[in-house]
């Protein structure tokens, strides 16, 4: 991260004397060797100190924390939207297999899974903001500001979850215990909701959790498209500003969030599937 160039000339006027450049460099700790700089970074990061932002002249962690809320809001909305739309759609698709609903839903899901996130965002802006004038084109505010970015960010997750739910449910519907349940006269909706969905939950939870992680990466692109003031956009802008402490802090926090999510999913396995308990 620090190899990309010297931030000091960007900070000082072009006619600054060399002695001034060296002074600022020493102040920022950039005159030390790279392994030393990395060691200092690690030790400080563990104490929650990511250094001072070169651009904002504030502690990096404080700056990033200020943007965290916006990303959390966007990410969680996108995730809930994806999960609460995709699971019922996938279930319906599986139960009404080969019907028109199934074909349409899976067709849309396929497009959603293959379409590049950023172009989806552009299309939404073009069609729903500029042509239809239903939503603002960017920025953060009330729920109308949130709708398009959340839909864009959630599209891929939604498509993946819907497809996997469908196949997981189909798999379970073939099982013997479903036939038994039907044979003993259990109502069809009970078969679907109680016997099927419960048994299909494991793969659905897995992919849903995985998608929560990919949302973090997608946030970088979506926030840039919609000018959403979150850490993804902050990271991109900080790269342009060569503001390393901010980039390091943002990436570090994303990694931690990702690890925590994976850990929670592993724990959920034990709750959902007694066989997976140690």
């Amino acid at each position: 991260m620090r190899l990309s160039g010297d931030p000091v000339p960007l900070l000082l006027p072009p006619d600054a004397p060399r002695s001034e450049i060296f002074r600022v460099r020493r102040e920022l700790g950039l005159d030390r060797t790279l392994p030393v700089q990395y060691g200092v970074f690690l030790v400080n990061a563990l104490r929650g100190d990511f250094g001072r932002s070169i651009h904002f002249r504030e502690p990096a962690f404080a700056v990033v924390r200020g943007y965290l809320g916006a990303t959390a809001e966007l990410g969680l909305t996108a995730f809930l939207l994806a999960a609460f739309v995709a699971v019922p759609v996938g279930l319906l698709s599986a139960v009404k297999r080969n019907s028109a609903i199934d074909h349409i839903a899976m067709g849309v899901a396929l497009v959603g899974q293959s379409a590049p996130t950023f172009f989806l965002g552009i299309l939404f802006i073009l069609l729903l903001s500029l042509k239809a004038d239903l939503f603002p084109t960017g920025g953060r505010g009330d729920w109308t500001h949130l709708a398009l970015p959340a839909l864009t960010l959630g599209a891929f997750a939604m498509a993946s979850i819907a497809r996997l739910t469908r196949s997981a449910v189909l798999e379970v519907l073939r099982a013997d215990y479903i036939r038994t349940a039907r044979a003993k006269g259990v109502a069809e909706w009970r078969v679907v909701v109680k016997h099927t969905l419960k048994n299909a939950a494991l793969p659905i939870v897995t992919i849903t959790g995985l998608q929560l992680g990919t949302l973090l990466g997608g946030a970088v692109v979506t926030e840039t498209v919609f000018a959403w003031p979150g850490i993804g956009r902050l990271a991109i802008q900080s790269i342009y500003n060569r503001d390393y402490p901010i980039v390091q802090c943002a990436v570090f926090l994303s990694a931690i969030v990702f690890i925590v999510i994976n850990f929670v999913i592993d724990l959920l396995y034990g709750v959902l599937d007694p066989r997976a308990r140690p």
Binding site: M1, L3, S4, R97, L110, V111, Q113, S114, A115, P116, T117, F118, F119, I122, L123, I125, L126, L130, T137, S160, R163, L164, R166, S167, A168, L170, E171, R174, T206, I207, G209, L210, G213, T214, L216, G217, G218, V220, V221, T224, V225, A235, I236, I239, Y240, V247, V251, S254, A255, F258, I259, N262, I265, D266, Y269
Partner: protein, 304 residues
Amino acid sequence: MRMTVGAPSSLLRPPTESSGLAAPAPKSRRAARLATMGLAFVLVLGGVAVAAPWLAPHDPTRQALRERLTRPTLEAADGRARFLGTDHLGRDVLSRVIYGARVSLVVGVAAVMVGGALGATLGIAAGFRGGLADSVIMTLADAQLAFPFILLAIGIIAVLGPSFPTLIVVIGLSGWVTYARLLRSQVLGLRSREFVEAIHALGGSVGRVVACHILPNVLSSLVVVATLELARAIVLEATLSFLGLGVQPPTPSWGGMIHEGREYLDTAWWISTFPGLVLMLTSIVVSRTGDWLRDLLDPTLRGE
């Protein structure tokens, strides 16, 4: 952790329901037909990329400020119409889309080859050496899958500066894990088989085992993975170019064009929309072709 984090999305595709008693023949015939159509599309796109200088009606980088933001039209002013309009510098959008296919395919194919070569080498090494090398390589793979790659790509490109080779290497790096896993599992399955030991006993090298017995076995799986990876590489290139970290102007690339047109969405929707639609179509067709090839060549690859 390995199981939960694993699976790149392309391989996580759910198994399409096996039709039980029904004969699989009509389904695979359909897959074959669709896969052929998908490959034809890729070939046509490749042809367009190669023949760009002859197909493009205008010079893709020539600016004509007097004709800037021309609407798409069928009327020819000077004998050659601006079918898809012009951008904010008066450059012909159709010509730029045609030239953009070059960037997408060159970067995409090169990245797939880099990723494939690296992944295959590491996978074979992990499988044959076992022990520490295996643990290190597979832990590295898990670590990479556990992290949103776009952040890593942005970081690397920010360090090295955007250029064609950097772009190819970074996108290639993003895809090595799938190949490594495929080859490692294949090697593990074959390593202790008697004929492999016989080759060793007769003085055959590891290279011979790999070239004559392992690669032929995984060839069809490799083709499937490479096709799915190609779709991903093309989209990743466009995404990075869109963020300003990929192909630099004035070289026309689809992602870069979408970025340039973004500021003019209100007045000149065509600048972003046409390259975007072509990109979306390419991505969908290529990844579907991968799925069909998988149904056709290697049903065992489905799901995890």
